[in-house]
Symmetry: none
Subunit: 219 residues, 4 copies
């Protein structure tokens, strides 16, 4: 196992202990399922695109077991437009794999309250975050994806507009998903349904985008 | 909440039911903690870079609660080299945010057995997956990141070489992480430690890269 | 560093050695986290009130890492009633600090089997421990706090009654906690939840007080 | 198990899971020792007086196993002077029990860097914390114990003086310990030794009070 990287460190003690605890309980009670998942491969019921934020636990919220959700997590749960330009697109790779190889029947985009990435985008679009506008800012260039959402924010207080932008991050992603030819085809053939959610971390709330009303409504 | 996207669908019933169950139990038991996390913001102890694979549950393995891990998940837990070229780099954005804004003290890259992305990379590098070599293949272009790992695979059976490539995905990522100036600086200042893990899904095993031995060893 | 106290002694050798071992391993693996905790301050998820008893290791039981629990330990895990009389109340000071300054979302009182303090209280209330009834007995005066718990013990064998008194120590403390105005307010606003536990040292058991059943039940 | 307290809540999920993990591993591997501790009672080698601060883990630092340390934790690791006035003194009760009933051979007072209680005392003594001076402030009245330490602080920058006050908290406690007749007697008979420590949380440092030099020195 050759490598020029020599700086990896041992895992902190308490994580080692917790792992051994998991192995002796949750894993032991469920080992036949894990073995089957390893032998047969995964057959997830859904792909979930969620934020990296440590407070968003989509597996907890939906009581998901191992094997259930194929999960991509990035800053602000964003999907870029389809752009097969030969460059690296990690999010697009995950979508391509889930839809064309795993053929997931559901694709859920979930946003959340107090999103740091969305907040940064808001400040940048308002002209208050010059550092994010620099070419070298990965967060800034990533949040450019949400500029179309900012452009259609309604009037309101700052807090209202930031919250609306969090929901726009879900809608922009859903729109961009439809620019992927295999997503569009699967949706039109009834083999895939898209879902847009937004969760309120503090209140434990969950809202789902209702296409008919054109708004998010509590689940 | 205006949008041109009108195809989002309601959440399947069983997910709605599980959400309501979570709200009435896990959330209710822990609501004060969620409120505090919402009010005070997150202070995660670690960033974890994991695969999207539905069988990898890093929060379960480590008994993690909401707020503990900032998690980025992509195909094959890969980190690209530092490239501030003004293009969109979702993984790099997540790393930038975790290290410079959240100042996480640990950064853990975790690979796993039976990784579909790594398998595809292996086949592509062996010349057996022409579809992945096309410019339009997001998965193929993403897995190009792992070509340096393929180049240094030891001799062995195909199964051995594929497993070794899964671990190379962790090592290549750790190496690329050090090409980010703020990661390198934080590591050298003792404010950040990097950790490389690999988990065997079926057996529930966990191995940690040991820089001294130059190999992964069971935790 | 002037002091009139000149009788402090060097640390025993084996403790010095263990400290150096910890520094080179657990600390080294986790040093970035310790530095962050030192720089950012603590954000504990819970206050725990536990007995001083050497056999009760709440951090082990819950796989807690540094920074997770704000822990007050006194004889028999007792909380006195709210009494802002200008005197020194160490337990009340710890509660005031945790709830009003740190704003902990959980407050856990944990009792245990074979509690020497509770045993002493039982003997004293039965009239068999005159030394504890003396004004100068700090243990006796401290255990007076548990007299209301003794008053409502059910009939039973002595062993049953002593074990019931250990659990009363938890309940009396929970009741007294609610006499602190800021505790009551935080509980009523959903910003703080109280939890009552009792652990069986020999059997490694853990029971949680269930308000609906009015009894402790295994976790 | 009668009680008028009906507001206790279930334990959060992840703590329940971690407990079960501990039970199946650490406890299972050590159950004979736990059973012996339960049957024979505790015979701790030392009493430790430490701060409630979540970042101070004296059992980790000294690799302590269950049964090893009888631990009292309060705000700023303070010991009040001996005062057998018939009022409740939780710290004094813990000391009385450890020295007269358990007859511990070592008594260790350990202070630490970034202590919020000491900082509050410093601000109060400088006249900058009127809230802490109110009769109803439990933290303020508790920190009054450290006023003699403030009175003998050397000149210096604020940071130096606060750090010196953290060490004074250890020295004042050691002095007050000697006002307990059974502590003094045990020390003079060579049955008990006192130790004063101070730990630097971020750096993982440990210093021990050296009576000859009249200062703390690295262990």
């Amino acid at each position: 196992m050759e490598s020029h990287m020599t700086i990896a460190r041992p895992l902190p003690d308490y994580l080692v202990k917790r792992y051994h605890g998991w192995k002796a309980t949750s894993y032991a009670e469920n080992s036949a399922w894990y073995r089957k998942l390893a032998d047969d491969g995964q057959h997830p019921r859904a792909m979930v695109i969620s934020c990296c934020d440590s407070r968003v636990h989509v597996t907890s919220i939906f009581g998901a077991d191992p094997g259930e959700f194929f999960i991509h997590r990035n800053i602000a749960n964003l999907v870029p437009p389809y752009a097969p330009d030969g460059n690296q697109h990690g999010t697009s790779a995950a979508i391509e794999y889930a839809v064309t190889a795993l053929k997931v029947p559901h694709l859920i985009v979930i946003g959340h309250s107090s999103c740091g990435g969305v907040r940064g985008c808001f400040d940048m679009c308002e002209g208050h975050a010059p550092a994010l506008e620099e070419k070298s800012s990965f967060v800034g260039r990533w949040m450019d994806l949400l500029r179309p959402g900012y452009a259609r924010l309604p009037e309101g207080t700052e807090a209202e507009r930031v919250a609306a932008l969090e929901k726009q991050a879900v809608l922009v992603s859903l729109e961009n998903l439809m620019s992927f030819p295999y997503v569009k085809e699967a949706v039109e053939e009834g083999k895939l349904t898209l879902h847009g959610l937004w969760t309120d971390i503090g209140a434990g709330g969950l809202e789902c985008y209702d296409s008919d009303r054109g708004d998010f409504v509590p689940v």
